[in-house]
Point group: C2
Amino acid sequence: MAFNPKAPPADKRRLILDAAIRVFARQGFHSTRVADIADEAGVAYGLVYHYFKSKDEVLNELFSERWSLLLTAIEQADRSDALGPRAKLETVAGFIFESYRHDPELMKVIIVEVTRAANSFGRTHLPEIRRAYDSIAKIVAEGQASGAFRGDIDADFASMSFYGAIEQLLSGWIFDLIPAADSDLEQAKTLVTATICDGLEPR
Amino acid sequence: MAFNPKAPPADKRRLILDAAIRVFARQGFHSTRVADIADEAGVAYGLVYHYFKSKDEVLNELFSERWSLLLTAIEQADRSDALGPRAKLETVAGFIFESYRHDPELMKVIIVEVTRAANSFGRTHLPEIRRAYDSIAKIVAEGQASGAFRGDIDADFASMSFYGAIEQLLSGWIFDLIPAADSDLEQAKTLVTATICDGLEPR
DNA sequence: CAACCGATTGACTGGTCAGTCAGCCAGCGA
DNA sequence: TCGCTGGCTGACTGACCAGTCAATCGGTTG
């Protein structure tokens, strides 16, 4: 037939992933049972295992999907010749905060269950996570080489401080430790960059 | 009798707590069974329940024991009239890094299982954790009031950035993402403070 | 010595899930 | 109409483990 007026094949795999985001965000990975995911997706228990090898694989998929975007964004920012090192860092921060604004539940899951869960899933994904730190450190190192940043603070050290500050702020919003007005989200990238860079730049 | 030459009553409770630190650090809280703690302590399974209401209570005890020291240290630093706001922050950072040098396993457990596990134990201890952030923010706010720090960055925001940077560095050391020479530990407090404060201080 | 009591022991139970699997059913081609 | 295929179903099982508890031990008191 020429066109299909019925609902599209309703990608059940995607349905399950999206449901998992909601449930993981609500209850945390450890206290959600596979049945919760299936229920939330309106799908039979067994179907989860049709599309995924295990409960873990669902979370792994969610993480990898999103983290690869982050890695791309960082490396792309670094490659941009038009930007100075400070602007590159601001771009990175902007991307992360924007990711949170766009899909807070997914970012909550990634941060809480993977990035900050270095003992469980963080372990598995350490190489990917590390690549983000390294890419940021590269931006810093280039800034130091060009003289835009002071050289007496190790680039890895600065990278960890920068990323740590960002993640802590996100955690603060996620758990209502600090109020999260939309304007805060907008200013955030400017403010973290100011906080960190005005210390990194030589005076 | 005048003195007791026999081994002292061998505080089993303490023995269990110390064993728990080692096991939690090694395997993580979720994948240690109560039997592991008992074995590590060289004590019968049931004795753990003689001294603690549950497995959770063991971790809670470890956290509270240490976190109260941190809170005291922050508040004491703040009270010291001899120190400027920057020196106060450096003292706080120094205390945390020193705690890690003194007992890396305990700090690993606290950070990985509580502080950065906002979904599970972090939830329970949010009020205590928050108190640390607030105390640091108070130091920043006083610095702003005195003109030592710039006023255009929210004190809570700065506090989270500062603490986040510290914790991320610790995580980096804990998981071998960045090399942890002893000299790094010593310099760390100076460097984080420099990174953050030279951005907070007005120019 | 006997009664007592808190510390200590470890076998056992109840409940919880992740993952399996035997089949069901809708659509399609012959 | 009759297989056939593969997405889909959900009851079931095996493993695992936190927490219980009845029994034992060792020291103390009267």
